[in-house]
Amino acid sequence: MSMTEKSYSIRSRMLGRSAFLLLSIFLILSLGVWHYARQSANYSYDRLLNSASLSIMEGLHVYDKQVDLDLPYAAFEMMQLANEDKVFYQALGTQGELITGYPDMPLPAKMSVESPISFYNGHYLSEDVRVVIRHKRISEPSVSGWVTVVLAQTLRARHEMMIDILYRSFAVLFGIMACVMIVLWVAINRALEPLSSISKSLASHSLVSAEPIQTTPIQEVSPLVSAINDYQAQLLSNLALMKRFIADASHQIRTAQSATQAQLDIASQSQNLADLPEHLSKIRTEHDRLTRLTNQLLTHAMVVHRGDAGVIEKLDVESVVKQLLTECVRDNAHRTIDFSYQCELPLPLFMGDSISLREAIRNLLDNALYYGPEHNQIEILLQTDSSGIDIIIDDAGSGIPLELREKALERFQRLANDLSGSGLGLSIVTSVAEAHGGQFFLEDSPLGGLRARIHLPKEGVSC
């Protein structure tokens, strides 16, 4: 068997298989018909043989203390109904002695008078014959015992009748099969017609045009059409999102670039050398912003890509968080920020992407550090319950007012313009949470600031 499947036509495959099936049915039916034809031919002519033998039996009488046969003409006239067949007969007396007829008829090996009549096939005078053997009890004062009449007939009429029935039945069968084949051919062509019409309309259809494929009244085909239309709609909405993202991203980058450019222009035109450090620091700030934006964009792209690619491994959330916290504490050693870490229960291993998750948590920590006050308090909580794992980061900052929280989750939405955020951080977290089948929430922190909570379900990505 070759690994690559050869191309084939459904039409010819269906037709071929139906033809094969029909042929099998035809063969089985033919066998049945043959059996039936043989049976009915035998049945008809056995009755003839039976009545003729009965008639001969009527001619057996006792004359002068001897059984004698007065062969009835009617018996043979009856036999002549099979007008092409030879006739052989024999009458046997009470001792099994020949009364009259052919002396050496083929008799069954064991003669029993149990059944008054029996039929069998034999061979006599180089002809195949059907034989009937009939017994009758004679009880007269002079003679008593069983007498036997053996009557045989060649098989020509039987064969003729059988062939006749066979031919007729075959003709009918063949006719039916031919009709079925024609109907099948038409039906298969009709059934495959929507397929070709859909592929025709798909070929002439542009995927990015907003126009859906025309719906069809055919129930079996409409799921396909609606699936294609759904697919197209999804593609279009993704495309729109991407367009907006690109537009937003380029706007952000240009803004940052033009700000840097403006500071550079001011610095180069400034006559006063004493002002230079100030300009430089502004340029540096703008440049930092640009760098951060670029990093965040790349992170976002990476997170989205990894989410789409479905990179999954066994990961220990606790160690990821601990490592991040360690880094964070080390980087912010110069600031008076209170870090605390709390993990109530040992967390189960979780199936997910450690790199994406690390980025998400890092973003949340960065946000808490960045937007929080100088004396901040940051608390990391890891909780687990039956529904999944919660990664919670609380701070004691100013928080985000309830009405702005939804807006904060959108891309490129910075709540405070003066700060150099990229507007992508929370969007990255949302993407990561969604890629793991979880959710991201902004809530009130018991510390007074914002609580960012990532909920990762046990099921979903984990398995």
Binding site: K86, F88, I99, S126
Partner: protein, 354 residues
């Protein structure tokens, strides 16, 4: 795909038909170009037919042996299958049918066979090629001032009324010795309800019985007999044509018709000649020769010319061809024959020591 299916089907049907139609192969051996015929037919009567066949097939060396019907049957049964003559012809249809039934014959091939009337063909193995009504023959001189009986019925009553006229002067076949006589007597019994009465009348008239048609006809012509009952029409008509002293009557109530039956031996040594000969007998040409030149009567005779001599009453003659078939074997059953002959003897030959 459909065509493939059809082909398979046709193959199937062919198989079925082949197994059913068992055609014997024609053995075309021409080692010696002979044709041996055993026949119960006067050589004089059939000679024109044989001559016509010889003229058509000059290279065939034709051998003709004449028998009487019962001798012929005994001769055939005495020989083993491989020593049989090629063609066997006899007017004793019953004996011929029994020979065929017992496997002495092979099918006659040819289109003419299929065209035969059904009574003149059994299994394509034995075929009748003549149409010979069973007739009354009378001495014209004796019946000069008398009405000739035209039906079985009138014959029976005339014989009873005028038994002095008929006494000792009626002749018929000897059913014991003559095959055709036995066939006709038994078929009379099968066909007609008055045959018993007629036999009784014949017995009362002390009917003389003969083994040969020729001697019967001789005696009627000479005046020794005045009436012959149940004679073979072929010889009688031929004699009537030659001899003015006798007249022939086809009985008008019913007339049995005997057809001379021919078959080809199962192991005939000269099969192709035999096939040719039998086919010649039933061909238009052969039938023409039989009708015009021989003393036999062709299968589809000109009935009008046969009956022109007698004044047919308003009714047409009811011809009753004896059909070839196994029913003819009934009276050949030993027991049945014994019984029939006994009845026939007691009816026809009441006085012992004839």
């Amino acid at each position: 795909m459909l065509r493939k299916m059809t082909l398979i089907l046709m193959g199937l049907m062919l198989l079925v038909s082949r197994s059913s139609a068992e055609r014997p192969s024609i053995n075309l051996e021409l080692d010696s170009n002979q044709l041996i015929i055993f026949s119960a037919t006067d050589i004089k009567a059939i000679a024109p037919v044989l001559n016509a066949f010889r003229a058509q097939n000059p290279t065939v060396n034709l051998e003709y042996h004449e028998f009487n019907t019962q001798e012929l049957d005994r001769a055939i049964r005495a020989k083993p299958l491989e020593d049989q003559p090629d063609v066997v012809i006899s007017s004793a249809m019953d004996l011929q049918v029994r020979l065929v039934n017992d496997g002495y014959a092979q099918p006659v091939l040819g289109e003419a066979v299929a065209a035969l009337p059904s009574w003149a063909n059994w299994r394509n193995e034995v075929i009748g090629f003549t149409y010979e009504p069973i007739v009354f023959v009378y001495n014209k001189q004796a019946f000069k001032n008398k009405a000739v009986p035209l039906t079985h019925e009138s014959l029976a009553s005339t014989m009873r009324i005028e038994d002095g006229f008929f006494a000792n002067r009626v002749g018929s076949y000897d059913a014991r010795r003559s095959g055709i006589g036995y066939l006709v007597a038994t078929q009379d019994e099968v066909t007609s309800s008055i045959s018993g009465r007629l036999q009784e009348s014949l017995g009362r008239a002390r009917t003389k019985v003969y083994g040969q048609t020729a001697s019967l006809l001789d005696d009627i012509a000479s005046g020794k007999l005045i009436f012959g009952y149940n004679l073979l029409g072929s010889y009688s008509f031929a004699r009537e044509r030659r001899d003015n002293s006798i007249g022939v009557v086809i009985p008008q109530d019913y007339a049995l018709v005997v057809s001379r039956a021919a078959f080809i031996s199962k192991q005939a040594k000269h099969v192709s000649n035999a096939q040719r000969f039998v086919n010649f007998l039933i061909s238009d040409e052969g039938q023409d020769v039989i009708a015009k030149k021989s003393e036999l009567v062709a299968l589809f005779p000109d009935i009008d010319s046969l009956v022109s001599q007698q004044d047919v009453q308003d009714q047409t003659i009811n011809f009753h061809p004896i059909p070839l078939g196994p029913a003819l074997m009934v009276y050949l059953d030993d027991s049945k024959r014994r019984r029939f002959i006994k009845a026939w003897e007691s009816a026809l030959l009441p006085i012992k020591g004839e």
